[in-house]
Symmetry: C2
């Protein structure tokens, strides 16, 4: 029925507007605002908030999940290298760097905590896919991915907490050392792991803003993940 479809579409638009508003607030580091301010920013009625989310925490967690799914899809576009070890290391190095460029996203993630290590979307299923691809290709030792994936996810979270509590620590060094450790865990000799984790990284900023391709070359550089 067309009426039902219009209702569904409006409902989906309201939800998307709330999530976009939450991502803006995350980017501006203003998660401590009343629900009314979020609904005003989203240009939806206060009451409609509660048709979609039980509270602010649930909205911000959903906003972070969506942002991580978006970031994961960016990583997917970058993963065109033949060597699964290079692909996996690149994802880890970019992900841990994200903790520094997106501190509020990271804080919501840390608040959510260990649940994320068993999430079925975002970065965890992509880590599983990459590890299993490396094992299938004989590039990684045949370890149990049901154990290795939580180690990677839990380790990344613990390092995110470390970076959150120590704002002057160099995130790039932490990220690259983490990636070397994980490649060694997966059976690579240390010298190979160090070499792979010293390769140039693609400039993710160019990919984070979906509209950037339509912008003129003289426009300001795209902002961080959540500000588009």
């Amino acid at each position: 029925m067309p009426t039902q479809t219009r209702f569904d579409q409006r409902r989906a638009r309201t939800r998307a507007a709330l999530i976009t508003a939450a991502q803006k607030l995350l980017a501006e580091r203003r998660t401590n605002v009343p629900v009314l301010e979020i609904t005003q920013l989203a240009d939806v009625g206060l009451g409609s908030f509660y048709n979609h989310f039980t509270d602010k925490d649930e909205l911000f967690e959903t906003a972070v999940d969506d942002a991580l799914e978006h970031f994961g899809s960016i990583l997917d576009k970058l993963s065109d290298h033949d060597d699964p070890a290079v692909v996996f290391a690149q994802s880890l190095r970019l992900t841990v760097r994200l903790c520094r460029s997106e501190p509020e996203l990271t804080r919501v993630l840390l608040h959510r905590g260990l649940d994320i290590t068993v999430a079925d979307r975002g970065l965890v299923p992509r880590a599983r896919r990459d590890i299993e691809a490396g094992i299938a290709a004989g590039r990684f030792r045949s370890t149990d991915s049901r154990i290795a994936v939580p180690i990677v996810a839990g380790g990344a979270l613990a390092l995110a907490a470390l970076l959150d509590t120590d704002p002057v620590r160099n995130a790039g060094n932490v990220a690259d050392s983490f990636a070397v450790d994980m490649l060694c865990m997966l059976g690579l000799p240390e010298s190979d792991a160090v070499e792979i984790c010293g390769l140039d990284l693609p400039n993710v900023d160019d990919l984070l803003t979906p509209t950037s391709s339509t912008e003129s070359p003289t426009s300001p550089p795209p902002g961080p993940l959540l500000s588009d």
Copy 2:
């Protein structure tokens, strides 16, 4: 002044009684009780609870910290092997097994979350000590322990969450696979890591009850960590 000393002693006794009561409740899986029941179990006044703890969560977290410190001291007694890789692997294998034998302790730990990965007592500083001993002895590759320790701690927490959500999964297999992964991360060849993580483990139950050495040989076997 003697009066002050007696006051201090009584204060310390009250605190210890509350922590012991909390550990009993953890062992009996009854953390969802009112504060009054805790103070009655500890045989202290209700008001004195708030001289020591702001709420139940803080008491249970302290109780878990104390239990982990106690468990760490047990691991210390076991660490008489010449090979630091064997010592470290043994600690990891016993610690992850603890998640299955002490599910309530694990749940409080998970509730506390990633803060524990930077704790200055309990198991994290012992992991740092063991990793640095292995590096100093040339048994582990010279990785940055400031990165490796959070990976170990975050990985162990993520696996604790996994075991908590999947009560039929074999904790011994998870623990041993985790220890193999960590030894490989620290530079051991997989075959060495597998061999070390297949060694017999000491019977920790014998060591968990501080009074066990004074008990008669016919007394029932000591209970789990928190029931003494």
